[in-house]
């Protein structure tokens, strides 16, 4: 997510490249190491589900609100899921208020894609009356602090918020009116999606880039994985990948996703 206005100088880029040649990065990590991940769920009482995710200095908060709505015509027995988000100046001075920028649209659409295509939420379980009433899940993602790799942080936050979501039990009376009860149940999860972002910097590939590394980087690829499948991918940035490079990245990311999944799993007690 290269933002105009905050520029990494050529000297800095060269320094980063020199470090990479020695197998090191600015914060001392290895090329494919992730920063420590902290996940807190249930941080917002009023929301049905919420999570705060820290990936190094990057912070993202996500919340879930539920309401009862109509299903889509082509999926009458499935709940609807709407993922949105904003990039506000809270996270970085490069972000502006006002209508959503292409960057924020891309970020939320990519996050939406990994959540939706991984089918991690059992949407059929959230159907109330087939063809008429289903739960509508509003998932909103707000980055608070931007130190690189918002794509992965947002994906983790989105999933964590969903995993902590409590769905109110409901009662349908004879008139067909729906009444929410005080009790609630957890949302049913089928998969744990993991997003792996790789940046190309010169001839080097680094995962979980920091802000500086992103700014100095040439091209980005974010890949979403479930246990056995690739469910989403998005290339970004002004550079390009060689075809063989991409193949290697897909393979190594697939392996890496398994490690990350176990980290997320243990953090969420799943």
């Amino acid at each position: 997510m290269t933002e105009k206005g905050i520029v990494t100088s050529t000297v800095e880029r060269n320094y980063i490249l020199t470090l990479l040649e020695r197998g090191k990065r600015l914060d001392g990590r290895g090329l494919s190491d992730y920063r420590p991940i902290k996940i807190k769920t249930g941080i917002v009482e009023k929301a049905e589900g919420s999570a705060l995710v820290e990936l190094g200095n990057t912070k993202v908060v996500a919340g879930v609100k539920l309401s009862i709505g109509k299903p889509y015509d082509d999926y009458p027995n499935k709940a609807t899921l709407i993922v949105t988000g904003e990039l506000n100046p809270t996270a970085s001075p490069a972000f502006r208020n006002g209508p959503p920028s292409p960057e924020s649209i891309e970020l939320t659409r990519v996050t939406d894609r990994i959540i939706r295509e991984s089918e991690c939420v059992d949407l059929e379980d959230l159907c109330i009356i087939e063809g008429e009433k289903v739960w509508t899940i509003f998932l909103d993602i707000y980055p608070l602090d931007h130190d690189g790799n918002l794509f992965d942080a947002c994906a983790i936050a989105a999933f964590a918020a969903l995993s902590s979501t409590k769905v109110p039990e409901i009662k349908i009376d004879e008139m067909g009116e729906i009444e929410k009860l005080d009790t609630s149940r957890s949302i049913k999860l089928k998969e744990i999606p993991v997003s792996i972002t790789t940046y190309k910097l010169g001839d080097f590939k680094i995962t979980d880039p920091s802000y500086k590394e992103e700014d100095a980087g040439d091209a980005r690829i974010t890949i979403g994985f479930t246990e056995d499948h690739i469910v989403s991918a998005q290339k970004g940035g002004f550079g390009a990948f060689k075809s063989q490079e991409l193949m290697d990245i897909f393979e190594s990311s697939f392996k890496r996703s398994k490690e990350l999944r176990s980290v997320i799993k243990s953090a969420l007690n799943l």
Binding site: V231, K242, M247, F254
Partner: protein
């Protein structure tokens, strides 16, 4: 696993009908129209030009702004004209993809704007948009490191299939559009959604790359074709000139088509796709291929049509052809053509530089002028050609040396002027100007390539008519 049955009967790695046409818009700096199955997209390039608002300008390089837009009537339900989030995302990723290939540092503080409009959309629209954008950028003369082609592949009925149609995309379980530059081996965009295993992804990826290599050839052919049309329009009024030009160009096209049709398909894909690709290529270059065929047929029987044409003097003219020094001029001409051909066919860049183009046209014009004058002199009274003098040739050469200094436009202007004069003089001399007849009477000419060119003249006229009909047909199809 079940047998794959695609709705339109295609095989797994078969493309839909692909047509590319460049220079379709009059006002834009560059433009292209792409038809991919039911997709129809028009791309218009404007720029490099001043950027507003100015705070967006970069002091080091130009910015590239692709605006992908689906017209409200392009899909089943009316699409609201306000840009959707999907359109904005596609615009962003396309901008980035093309920024990776355009030499933006040549135009600091400016913008290159590309408007891509989906006239009709039916699956794989962003890749069709990218094909159009790439061709339009080349058409606009924007310096690029290479061309970008794109195609989507995905999962349909648990099979990896290429180029999903709209319905297949909806029913399928995975979609993966890829933009790729064969010349650079660079993937400038990859998006994916669905459920792919790693192996399925690899299959789809490789299938797309192979297809894009073919698309690239179609793109190049479309760009070459534009210049073919320009050449014809420049040289069109003088069929003989055009003919020489065309002979040169057609052989180039033949090379291209050969490469298109035969080498990649036969070697790589055994069955279906080869058929398919041949078809697509044929649709793109049908007219050219026809021309090529006729040309190759005509050239060997140089003399025969002349016999028919000039029945009176056939024996004499043939005799003269045998006796008269045919060598120098024809060899020169052939070698010249061969040289230019070599230049063109060796040139792998999608768009030869301006200078080269003009030089080629200049040379061809000179040659053609030479021939025209000679032939005009001869066809009237070929009997007299038997005894000719060297001096006239020298005179001719002098004339051409002079003209070689002049620019193409000047030459054109002169040519038109000459023709007007010729037209005026027609009633007097029947067919040729009095000046020519004077020259002829002085016996200052060599037969040279006379016979060849007369036959060619006839075939070109036929070609011209055919081409016109074809163009009309194409246009009608487009209108429909």
């Amino acid at each position: 696993m079940n047998e794959l049955e695609r709705l339109d009967g295609r095989s797994a790695n078969e493309l839909r009908n692909l047509q590319i046409e460049v220079g379709v818009l009059h006002r834009a700096d560059g433009s292209a129209r792409v038809i991919l199955g039911k997709n129809e997209v028009i791309a218009a390039v404007n720029g490099p030009r001043e950027l507003h608002p100015k705070h967006m300008a970069l002091s080091q390089k130009a910015i590239v702004q692709v605006t992908y837009k689906m017209l409200p009537f392009s899909v089943e339900y009316r699409k609201h004209p306000i840009p959707s989030r999907r359109e904005k995302e596609i615009s962003k990723v396309l901008s980035e993809a093309f920024e990776s290939i355009i030499l933006t540092k040549l135009f600091p503080r400016s913008t290159i704007d590309i408007q891509v409009q989906m006239i009709q959309s039916d699956g794989g629209s962003r890749t069709a948009a990218a094909i159009a954008t790439s061709a339009a950028l080349a058409d606009a003369g924007i310096p690029m490191r290479g061309l970008i082609g794109g195609i989507a592949s995905g999962l349909y009925q648990d099979h990896c299939v290429l180029d999903l149609s709209g319905i297949e995309d909806n029913e399928g379980t995975g979609d993966c559009p890829i933009l790729y530059s064969p010349a650079l081996d660079e993937v400038s965009l990859l998006q994916l959604d669905g459920k792919f295993t790693l192996d399925q992804f690899k299959t789809c990826f490789n299938m797309s790359i192979d297809a894009i290599k073919k698309i690239d050839e179609v793109q190049r052919a479309a760009l070459v074709k534009k210049y073919d049309v320009i050449r014809q329009s420049i040289l069109g009024e003088e069929p003989l000139e055009e003919d020489d030009e065309k002979a040169a160009l057609l052989t180039v096209n033949q090379d291209v088509t050969d490469a298109d049709v035969e080498s990649p398909t036969q070697s790589e894909e055994p069955e279906q796709s080869s058929e398919d690709m041949t078809e697509t290529d044929v649709t793109v270059e049908e007219s050219q291929i026809d021309e090529v065929k006729e040309e190759t047929v005509d050239i060997p029987k140089e003399t025969t049509p002349v016999e028919e044409a000039s029945t009176d003097s056939s024996s004499e003219s043939q005799a003269s052809e045998d006796t008269v020094v045919k060598g120098e001029t024809s060899i020169n001409k052939e070698s010249l053509i061969a040289e230019t051909l070599d230049k063109i066919s060796k040139d792998e860049s999608p768009k030869p530089s301006f200078d080269e183009k003009y030089n080629e046209i200049d040379e061809a014009l000179k040659e053609a002028n030479d021939l025209v004058t000679k032939i005009n002199k001869h066809t009237t009274e070929p009997e007299e050609t038997a005894d000719k003098t060297q001096s006239s040739e020298e005179e001719d050469r002098d004339q051409f040396d002079e003209s070689s200094v002049k620019s193409v436009t000047e030459l054109l202007y002169e040519k038109r002027k000459n023709e007007q004069v010729k037209d005026k003089e027609k009633p007097k001399s029947g067919f040729f100007s009095s000046k020519m007849q004077e020259l002829l009477q002085n016996n200052k000419l060599s037969t040279g390539d006379l016979n060849i060119d007369v036959t060619k003249e006839e075939s070109t006229k036929e070609d011209e008519k055919k081409r016109e009909v074809e163009r009309d047909l194409e246009y009608m199809e487009y209108e429909e």
